[in-house]
């Protein structure tokens, strides 16, 4: 039977990456000196699984590397080795190398063998540091009784211990196997057999004297007896015609099995060579097939599948009930029909929810990288920082998990770098030496909230404003609220670091962070107090497939505004409206002038009812940090809508993020708020806009 092992590779990689995360977080929590054995055990187990899998699936280099890690962990687990900070650090670095190896292998790329070699040497160095685990030299037992060429076979004396059958081993099976190797001459010793009255049917009494003739190696025989070497007395001697067979008296039961002989058998070097050859063959074939299977997979908790299956069951029952009702429908059954339809609706809704659940993964997939990050960076920066995480079990959409990682890393780095002060600075300010960064995730309303909070120095509004003016982002006479100033850090080309630091000064800026979050349909806000700390609050939709929408109407047309973008809806009064030179229509909302976007104009709706601003409503929305009022005829209801792509069969339309199907089967278009604000850009009053003008 040939089995394509490549089909298991994706699962292997998935679980190995999970295993690496377990190892990493376990190592980070490990207290050198007094490590929790269960913790080491779970790290060991993860390493062990990766080793087992990689060996089986033919990734020999990974198996070899993990083997060294496993050995080290095993000694720690058994208490044979102290858990030192050095060993933990080397293991952590090894986790990184292993991750690189797995990534490269999964992508069919070249593994950096130099790096692997160097890290393996590190591990070996740690291992060698403790001579306690000295290897016991294998005794050389190949003292052949006669030359291999002269040998004609083997004389085997096999006496099972009485309990042998209770290990599930059957002496007859072993003898049958021996018989398959060559010509077997069997003599049974019946003497130990007890009289029937004393006979224990579950015990073995017999022993065998066996002569095996043929070109059979000792290894082949040892393999057969491998499982029972402790459960029997066994002697295996070569038969040479030129020499009298040594009188092979079987050892007595009290004497331990002839370990030396048996142990020496699977000549380790030979065996390894064989393995290598086998695995490298398999690797060749795996490589070819791996390229095709690039589809991303998702691991789903079995209980979620069970819930779904139950629901489908219910749905089937409802369906059959309804079709029975339909076959001979009578108006008197209208009540039952209504009930059935209500049931159908409920099941359908529940099923939709549970299908969505399948895409949901705990945010810990993203959070798990932070302990390491904080550990490494705080060491590097000479700061003392404690990371507190809560709500790791909060579930979010898989796509969110994949896309929120980088923005979060950036924000956390930011907090470490610019938020938390140096220890002496903190002490001088009357704060504890150790700073705290908190990562919290929780559900609120239909959203996921992720908070990144530090007890550092907070954002300095004057410094920020100064910098923004200096960079020409705001006019020098601008009067801005604290909140507006904080928002400045999201402007393109703005960096708060006085000196561009190694940690957060490079690469993506906060503008990219905001854009990534907006792309996920989310938003980010800042709270800060000087000397006390800052917090960044990210609000994300629960899932990307469903959106909470506000239905609005303009003439005969219906559009969906994502609820997450809406701040409020207001009726405008004449005295709120201003015509600002060069900025078009604006309205004043709590000391702020916001542009009015007449949706019917921008969307080309011909039959809009409200033409004068006091006839309709303004929906105040925010996108990418800019606010405006969308002018519509009226608000309809709020509802959850399933997002459908316009691009699938047509193309992207500016101002629209997609479409959905309403209850009556018609299509409604979903507005892309940041896009609309950009389209209406000429009239925008947002501060960054001002800046662009004054620049």
């Amino acid at each position: 039977m040939t089995i394509d092992m490549a089909q298991f590779h994706q699962v292997f990689f998935d679980e190995s990456f999970e295993g690496l995360d377990i190892m990493e977080s376990g190592l980070l929590e490990m207290d050198p000196g007094s490590a929790d054995p269960e913790q080491i055990n779970s790290i060991f187990r993860a390493a062990h699984s990766i080793k087992g899998g990689s060996g089986t699936f033919g990734f020999t280099n990974i198996a070899d590397f993990t083997h060294v890690m496993e050995t080290l962990l095993d000694e720690m687990r058994d208490g044979r080795r102290q858990v030192t900070a050095e060993a933990v650090n080397v293991l952590l670095a090894s986790v990184d190398v292993l991750r690189e190896m797995l990534t490269a292998t999964s992508e069919d790329a070249e593994v950096d063998s130099e790096r692997v070699k160097a890290q393996k040497a590190e591990l070996d160095r740690i291992l060698a540091g403790d001579a306690a685990a000295a290897e016991v030299a294998e005794p050389d037992s190949t003292e052949e009784a006669c030359a291999r060429s002269e040998q004609t076979g083997w004389h085997i004396v096999f006496r099972p211990h009485s309990h042998m059958m209770r290990t599930g081993n059957d002496p007859l099976r072993l003898i049958r196997e021996l018989g398959s190797l060559g010509e077997l001459n069997v003599e049974v010793d019946l003497e130990p057999l007890l009289p029937l009255s004393e006979y224990e049917p579950e015990d073995s009494y017999l022993s065998w004297d066996l002569h095996l003739t043929g070109d059979v190696s000792k290894e082949q025989i040892d393999d057969i007896f491998d499982w029972v070497e402790d459960d029997c007395d066994l002697s295996i001697d070569p038969i040479c015609p030129t020499q009298k067979t040594p009188a092979a008296a079987p050892e007595t039961a009290s004497e331990p099995a002839p370990k030396t002989e048996i142990k020496a058998v699977p000549a380790p070097d030979e065996r390894r060579e064989g393995d290598d050859r086998r695995t490298s063959d398999r690797r060749g074939s795996a490589k070819k097939s791996a390229t095709g299977g690039g589809a991303s997979s998702i691991r789903v908790d079995i209980t979620k599948i069970d819930v779904l299956i139950n629901m489908v069951g219910e749905l089937v029952i409802t369906q059959s009930m309804l079709s029975m009702l339909g076959e001979e429908f009578d108006i008197s059954q209208i009540e039952r029909l209504r009930e059935g339809l209500a049931q159908l609706e409920r099941h359908t809704r529940e099923m939709q929810e549970s299908v969505m659940q399948i895409r949901m993964l705990p945010i810990s997939f993203t959070f798990s990288r932070f302990p390491r990050l904080v550990h490494d960076l705080s060491t590097k920066m000479g700061k003392q920082i404690e990371l507190k995480m809560t709500g790791e079990a909060t579930e979010v959409d898989k796509t969110v998990i994949e896309k929120i990682g980088d923005p979060l890393v950036h924000l956390v780095r930011n907090s470490l770098d610019h938020g938390i002060e140096m220890p002496e600075e903190r002490v001088a300010a009357g704060k504890p030496e150790q700073g705290t960064v908190e990562l919290n995730a929780y559900h609120r309303g239909g959203n996921i909230i992720i908070e990144i909070k530090d007890d550092g120095k907070g954002l300095n509004r004057d410094l920020l404003l100064e910098k923004a003016i200096e960079r020409g982002l705001v006019p020098s006479d601008a009067i801005l609220s604290d909140q507006q100033i904080y928002e400045l850090i999201f402007a393109a080309g703005f960096s708060t670091a006085e000196t561009v630091s190694d940690v957060s000064g490079r690469g993506v800026g906060m503008d990219v962070v905001r854009r990534n979050i907006n792309e996920l349909g989310g938003s980010i806000e800042i709270h800060s107090e000087i000397g006390v700390g800052s917090s960044f609050v990210i609000r994300l939709p629960l899932t990307l497939a469903i959106l909470d929408g506000q239905t609005v109407c303009i003439g005969s047309e219906t559009y969906i505004v994502p609820l997450v973008s809406i701040i409020e809806s207001i009726q405008v009064k004449e005295n709120m409206i201003n015509m600002l030179a060069g900025k078009g229509e604006t309205f004043k909302l709590r000391e702020e002038y916001l542009p009015i976007v007449r949706l019917h104009e921008i969307l080309g709706v011909k039959d809009a009812k409200a033409k004068n601003l006091n006839e309709g409503l303004l929906v105040v929305v925010e996108g990418e940090g800019r606010r405006c009022g969308l002018f519509v005829d009226d608000l309809l209801g709020q509802q959850q809508v399933v997002i459908k792509s316009l691009e699938a069969n047509y193309r992207k339309i500016s101002g629209l993020s997609g479409a959905t199907i309403l209850g009556d089967g018609s299509v409604a278009l979903i507005l892309d708020i940041p896009g609309l604000i950009r389209m209406a850009g000429n009239a925008s009053v947002a501060f960054s806009k001002d800046a662009r003008k004054s620049a």
Binding site: K644, A648, Y650, S654, V667, L669
Partner: protein
Amino acid sequence: MAESQVAELNNLQREGFSDEQNAQYLTFELADEDYGVDILRVQEIRGWDVVTRVPNTPSYVKGVLNLRGAIVPIFDLRERFDLSSQEYTKDTVVIVLRVNGDTGMRIMGIIVDAVSDVLNSNSSGLVNAPDFGGRVATEFIAGLVSAGEKMVMLLDVDKLLGQDQQSEQELAAVN
């Protein structure tokens, strides 16, 4: 696979290398002219139904339709070809087509006056489209075929609707 084979066959036919293999076309009327599309591209034919207008698109894009959960754009072929437009009636028909674009297969609908017939054609009946200098750009015409008294213009669906996307993207870029 079948589609690509047919496309290849059609090419051969056009160039006159083909044997007696037949192709089938769905023919329809548009402003008293007869057109045809490769029947293998036709997913379904449905009556005209109200669509949702999509803002900032050319006028021949009538809007989008919910086709069993997929959002499908509907094009008015009269307007696309700059023929006089006409009120939609009960006879107005939407032909839903499978179109091969750069990004894979898309589903799109075209509005025509009425569906006529299925036409069997072989190599002998097919001729290259001459340049009419007229209403329908020859680039969208795969060939002409005679059906009795009538001349049927066979549309190249991919060029017609694929091209369309491109010009719209350019249009959008200008906007």
